[in-house]
């Protein structure tokens, strides 16, 4: 049934020696645009990008094979994203939905993002309809389950999470061409989750690990984030921010890009405050968009070697 939407299936079967053009197919699918955007907007993440390219290539080749009526099973595209906080798992999942849609693998290309709360019910008989409703909403698109390990709570025998997993497994197997399930979470806890749910592990073909960012990559990300909000660093501020990142990376609770975003938000606050303090001076556009070194150096990471959010006295 899903074939009826696919443009290539309406074509007649080609002769055995007919030439096909992979490049033309690549151009026609607009995948290039998405992949380029991925390269431009996502810094680093080498293994992730390689895997996405591989998947895109496989789906394209599959489309060409279909023109010769070479049937092969629809590839399982369920994925598992592991990585530390702030490494871009959700962002990539969003992109994934778009890529799969362009390749004609999912019909609608929307992303339904859920956590345990949306899947697991509170009383007996509540879980199955709840999970099924979410699955039905995600059909034709991508179901993204954030922090999937919360689904399974081994310490509580009567936890309803197991029921939800069971339904998910069934759908992942039977409705493979209707939806793609992407699980995400921190590496060690996901490993534990798969260890106790071997069925889940074997149904997921792609386990992608998101590496931590280096300081240079984080600086690059910071500049991109600022650019989207119409701010920019002064040259001194850029140096200061690089120092900030190197210091911050050594402190506890470092969450990669998310920490960078928070740091930038605080820098914007300080910038606004600084502009306000010198209110007598008339401001230019450059003043409004430039973040100076002093906005960043005021952070307590520099002064006390502590996080900005921590309480004052060293308790």
């Amino acid at each position: 049934m899903s074939d009826t939407d696919n443009s290539s299936s309406t074509q007649a079967v080609l002769a055995d020696d007919a030439p096909v053009n992979l490049e033309a197919e690549f151009e026609a699918s607009n995948v290039k645009e998405v992949l380029d955007k991925l390269d431009r907007e996502l810094i680093g993440l080498k293994p992730v990008k390689t895997r996405i390219r591989e998947i895109a290539a496989l789906l394209l080749v599959d489309r060409l094979r279909k023109q010769f009526a070479l049937t092969s099973e629809t590839p399982t595209l369920h994925m598992n994203f592991t990585g530390n906080p702030g490494t871009g798992k959700t962002t990539v999942a969003m992109r994934m939905a778009e890529i799969l849609h362009r390749l004609g693998y999912v019909r609608e290309g929307h992303l339904v993002s859920v956590t345990r709360d949306d899947l697991v019910g509170q009383y007996i008989g509540h879980t199955a309809p709840k999970t099924k409703e979410v699955i039905k909403k995600a059909m034709g698109g991508v179901l993204f389950i954030d922090e999937a390990y919360y689904l399974y709570k081994p310490e509580n025998e009567r936890d309803y999470g197991a029921e939800s997993i069971e339904i998910l497994l069934q759908v992942m197997e039977n409705n493979r061409d209707d939806l793609v399930v992407i699980l995400a979470g921190y590496k060690d806890r996901m490993d534990k989750f798969f260890h106790s749910n071997p069925g889940m592990r074997s149904r997921i073909a792609h386990h992608i690990d998101f590496p931590d960012y280096s300081a240079e990559e984080l600086l690059h990300i910071a500049k991109l984030m600022l650019a989207t909000q119409n701010y920019r660093f002064s040259p001194d501020a850029e140096k200061a921010f690089f120092e900030y990142i190197t210091l911050r990376m050594k402190l506890a609770h470092f969450a990669n890009a998310r920490s960078v975003r928070n740091a930038l938000d605080r820098a914007r606050l300080r910038q606004a405050n600084r502009l306000f303090a010198n209110a007598s001076k008339s401001l230019s556009k450059a003043d409004l968009i430039t973040i100076e070194a002093e906005d960043i150096l005021a952070s307590r990471v520099f002064i006390e070697g502590k996080l900005d959010g921590e309480p004052e006295s060293g308790q």
Binding site: M1, S2, R107, E133, I135, K136, M139, G140, D178, L179
Partner: protein
């Protein structure tokens, strides 16, 4: 019922046509989703033409993007009630409409016994006529 050979009940859309295939049902659902209507699956074993309120199979499905989810429910319902009437209804929430705008049968019993004419003698030798479904002679759940 003489215009309708074989006693097939005719309610909702497409009921004079041969049974819809899954692909045709999907296409109809897709049309409804495109209009932003919420679909639901209903079943009954009382084929009387004035029986408008059928039992709901699960909750109505809001915010779906793809027909596959609804077709899955249809198939579940067919599996649970292979010998009942099953229909898909589409509800339009547009202000001023707020009612079912589309409804078609997707499953019917293998054998539909049809309807008989019932005469009732009323005041002064007056005759009243109505139809009666042979299926409803048996209690609910044992009709087909």
């Amino acid at each position: 019922m003489m215009t309708n050979q074989g006693n097939r009940i005719t309610q909702g859309q497409f009921s004079f046509l041969p049974d819809l295939t899954d692909a045709q049902i999907t296409a109809q659902i897709k049309y409804a989703l495109g209009k932003g209507w919420a679909l639901s699956v209903e079943y009954t074993d009382d084929p009387h033409p004035r029986n408008t309120y059928w039992e709901m199979f699960g909750n109505p499905m809001f915010d779906l993007k793809d027909p596959a989810g609804i077709l899955m429910e249809v198939n579940n319902c067919r599996k649970t009630f292979p010998n009942h009437y099953v229909r898909v209804s589409a509800f339009s929430a547009v202000r001023g409409v707020e009612s079912v705008t589309m409804s078609f049968i997707v499953n019917r019993p293998k054998k539909e016994p049809g309807f008989g004419l019932v005469r009732q003698e009323a005041d002064g030798r007056q005759m009243r006529y109505t139809v009666h479904s042979y299926a409803t002679d048996k209690p609910e759940g044992e009709r087909y």
